[in-house]
C-alpha cells in the first residue's frame, strides 16, 4: 500500500513537471472531434453442401459478400454513410451473375440523441439482421431462413428516416420506395418485390415504424410494422395489394449465454395476387453458450442450436388445396462459432430441413467472416 501511495505521489510530481503542455479549454471540442473519412467493411466465404434424401447432392464454394463501408463526418451533426457490396465475386451481367449493390448511401443529420434524420439509400428497421448483418454478429454460415422468406434481408431502398432515442427507447420511422407486387410469391413472400433502389416506385411508398429497447435486463427487445400498397397487375388491369409485415425480436446476452428469438408475419389483402396466399409466418430461436472461459481460451467458442418453423403460405384463400402444407417446413441446425477476435469468425453448421410434404434435405456449411 505504501509503495502504491509513493507511486501515485510520484505520478503527480511527474505530471506537474509536464504542466507546460496545458491547452485552452475551448480547443478541446476540436481535438475530440475532427472531420474525417473512415473505411470499414465485411466479407464472408461459404462452403455449402446439400444432400436431399432423394435427388442429387450439391456443393459450392462462394465468396458470398465483399462489402466496403465509406463514411465521412463533416461535423458532429452531419455525416455521410455508405455500404457498397459485391455478391458472389463476379459481375458479368445476366441473371446467373453476381450483383453490385449500393445497400446504404445517406446523409445523416444527428444533432442530439433525441432525433436525427437520414436521406438516401437506407435499410428499414425490420428484425435483428437487416440493419446489422456483419458475419460475426449472427450464428450460422448463412443468414437464418427466416431472414430470407419472412423478412427479405437485405432489404434496402431509396427514402428518408427519422430516428432517435427517447425515454431510453430507440425509435425509427422510415419512408422509402415501394415494392413490386408482381414479384411476390407463395415460396419467398415479398422477397422478389424489392426494387433495390433501381428507378424505384415512389407512388406507393413503404412505411416502416420500429421501436426497440436495448440492454433491458440484458435483453434487446424490439418490434416493427411495415406497410405498403404493392402495385400489381391482374388480367391487364392495375391493382394494389395492401401488405403488412409485422415482427417482434429478442436478443439476450449474459454470462456467456446467448439467445435470439424472432417471429414475424406478412399479410396480404389480395391473396389472388400472391398465388392464393393471404399470410406468411415464421419463427426461429437460437441458443448458444460461450465455452472459451471454461476452456481457458481467449476469444469466443460458441456451440449453438437453432429451431425454425416457417410457412410462407400459413393462411390461404383456399383456392389451391393443401397450399399451406406445401410451403411449411421445420429446420434444425447445430453449429459452432469460433471468434479468435471479436471481428473475425470461423463458422461450421449442420442442419436438416424438414418440409411437411416432400423429402428432408441435409445441409453442411463452413464459413469464414470478418468485419472492421
Amino acid at each position: 500500500m505504501n509503495k502504491l501511495r509513493t507511486s501515485v505521489l510520484a505520478l503527480v510530481g511527474f505530471m506537474l513537471i509536464h504542466a507546460g503542455a496545458t491547452l485552452p479549454a475551448q480547443d478541446l471540442d476540436k481535438i475530440f472531434f475532427r472531420p474525417q473519412t473512415t473505411i470499414g467493411g465485411y466479407g464472408e466465404l461459404h462452403y455449402n453442401s446439400s444432400k436431399p434424401e432423394n435427388g442429387r447432392n450439391s456443393a459450392t464454394l462462394d465468396f458470398h459478400r465483399f462489402v466496403l463501408f465509406f463514411s465521412h463526418a463533416w461535423s458532429e451533426e452531419f455525416a455521410f454513410k455508405s455500404e457498397l457490396e459485391i455478391e458472389h465475386n463476379l459481375i458479368a451481367g445476366g441473371k446467373s451473375s453476381g450483383e453490385v449493390e449500393l445497400e446504404q448511401a445517406y446523409v445523416d443529420y444527428h444533432p442530439n440523441s433525441y432525433w436525427g434524420i437520414q436521406a438516401g439509400v437506407l435499410l428499414p428497421s425490420v428484425g435483428i439482421i437487416n440493419e446489422f448483418h456483419e458475419p460475426p454478429l449472427f450464428f450460422g454460415v448463412e443468414r437464418p431462413d427466416y431472414h430470407k422468406v419472412i423478412i427479405p434481408t437485405t432489404w434496402f431502398g431509396n427514402g428518408a428516416a427519422i430516428y432517435g432515442n427517447i425515454v431510453q427507447l430507440d425509435y425509427r420511422v422510415v419512408v422509402m420506395e415501394g415494392l413490386d407486387g408482381t414479384g411476390f410469391s407463395a415460396k419467398e413472400g415479398i422477397r422478389g418485390g424489392r426494387l433495390k433502389g433501381y428507378k424505384a416506385d415512389a407512388t406507393h411508398p413503404v412505411i416502416n415504424l420500429s421501436l426497440s429497447k436495448r440492454n433491458w435486463l440484458g435483453m434487446n427487445l424490439g418490434g416493427s410494422v411495415t406497410m405498403t400498397q404493392a402495385s400489381d397487375t391482374l388480367n391487364g388491369t392495375s391493382a394494389v395489394n395492401q401488405t403488412l409485415v409485422s415482427e417482434f425480436h429478442l436478443q439476450f446476452t449474459q454470462s456467456n449465454f446467448h439467445a435470439t428469438a424472432e417471429m414475424g408475419q406478412i399479410q396480404y389483402d389480395r391473396p389472388d395476387l400472391v398465388g392464393g396466399v393471404s399470410a406468411a409466418r415464421g419463427i426461429y430461436v437460437d441458443l448458444g453458450y460461450d465455452l472459451a472461459p471454461l476452456l481457458g481460451l481467449s476469444g469466443a467458442v460458441i456451440p449453438w442450436v437453432r429451431y425454425s418453423d416457417i410457412n410462407t403460405a400459413a393462411k390461404t384463400d383456399g383456392t389451391i388445396p393443401n397450399l399451406d402444407q406445401q410451403h411449411r417446413y421445420a429446420l434444425w441446425r447445430v453449429g459452432l462459432q469460433v471468434k479468435p477476435l471479436p471481428d473475425v469468425v470461423y463458422k461450421l453448421d449442420f442442419g436438416k430441413k424438414m418440409p411437411e410434404t416432400g423429402a428432408d434435405v441435409s445441409q453442411l456449411n463452413l464459413g469464414v467472416g470478418y468485419m472492421f
Binding site: S7, V8, A10, L11, V12, F14, M15, H18, A19, A21, T22, L23, A25, Q26, L28, D29, I31, F32, F33, G40, S71, A73, E76, A79, D108, H110, N112, S113, Y114, I117, I128, E131, L137, A160, I162, N165, D170, V173, V175, A202, P205, I207, S212, R214, N215, G218, N220, V225, M227, Q229, Q242, F252, T253, N256, D269, D290, A292, S298, A300, P342
Partner: protein, 192 residues
C-alpha cells in the same frame, strides 16, 4: 390494417419540420461536461487542475499492448482533483473508435488508481447508445491495472452494441494501465 396512406412522404416532411422547430438542446463543450461529472463525483474537491500531457512512449506501448487498442489522441487529457494538500483522485478524457465516429468518454480514478466512475461524454453513432447507461458503466468501478476487461467475460456484453462495448472496455483498460505504468516508471526513475 392501418391505412398507411395517412403517412407517406408528406407525413415524414411534417414530422421533420416539427422536430426542426423544437429548440435544440444546446450541448456544453466536452471540457465543461467532463468537469461537471468530476465535481459531481468529488463534491469535496477544492481544486481540479486540467492538463494535456504528451504521451510517454514506454507507458503507451505497455498500455496499448495490454488493452489491444491504440491511443487515438496523441496527448493525455487529464485532471488532478485535490482537496487542499490531499489528492482525491484523477480523471482522464479520451476517445475510442465507434463504428464510424469517435466516442468521447471520461474515466475517474481514486488516488490509488482504481476506476471510480466511467461516463460517456459524447456518443455520436446512431445505434449502440446503450453503453451510455450508468447501470452498465457501473461494472468498471473498482477495477485497476490487474483486472480483466474482456467483453463477454469480465464485462457484460450488450446485444446490438458489440462494437461500442468492445471499444469502451478496451479504452478504460488502456487508460488504467497507462496511468499505472506512468506511476511505476516514475518510481523506477526516482530510485535510480
Amino acid at each position: 390494417m392501418i391505412r398507411y396512406y395517412f403517412f407517406g412522404f408528406r407525413f415524414l416532411a411534417i414530422v421533420g419540420c416539427l422536430f426542426l422547430a423544437i429548440p435544440q438542446v444546446l450541448n456544453a463543450g466536452v471540457r465543461e461536461e467532463a468537469e461537471g461529472v468530476i465535481r459531481d463525483f468529488f463534491p469535496d474537491a477544492k481544486s481540479i487542475e486540467f492538463q494535456a500531457l504528451a504521451l510517454q512512449n514506454d507507458a503507451r506501448t505497455v498500455a496499448e499492448q495490454t488493452a489491444g487498442q491504440a491511443f487515438l489522441l496523441d496527448k493525455l487529457y487529464y485532471w488532478e482533483i485535490r482537496s487542499g494538500e490531499s489528492i482525491l483522485g484523477y480523471a482522464v478524457l479520451d476517445n475510442v473508435k465507434g463504428k464510424a465516429h469517435p466516442i468521447t468518454y471520461l474515466v475517474l480514478f481514486s488516488s490509488e488508481l482504481k476506476v471510480q466512475r466511467v461516463r460517456v461524454i459524447r456518443y455520436r453513432e446512431q445505434i449502440g447508445g446503450a453503453i451510455q447507461e450508468p447501470r452498465w458503466l457501473e461494472q468498471f468501478r473498482g477495477r485497476d491495472r490487474h483486472s480483466g476487461f474482456d467483453p463477454g467475460r469480465h464485462i457484460d456484453g450488450i446485444s446490438g452494441a458489440t462494437i461500442s462495448v468492445n471499444a469502451i472496455s478496451r479504452g478504460v483498460q488502456r487508460i488504467t494501465v497507462y496511468l499505472s505504468q506512468l506511476a511505476n516508471n516514475t518510481v523506477a526513475a526516482d530510485m535510480e
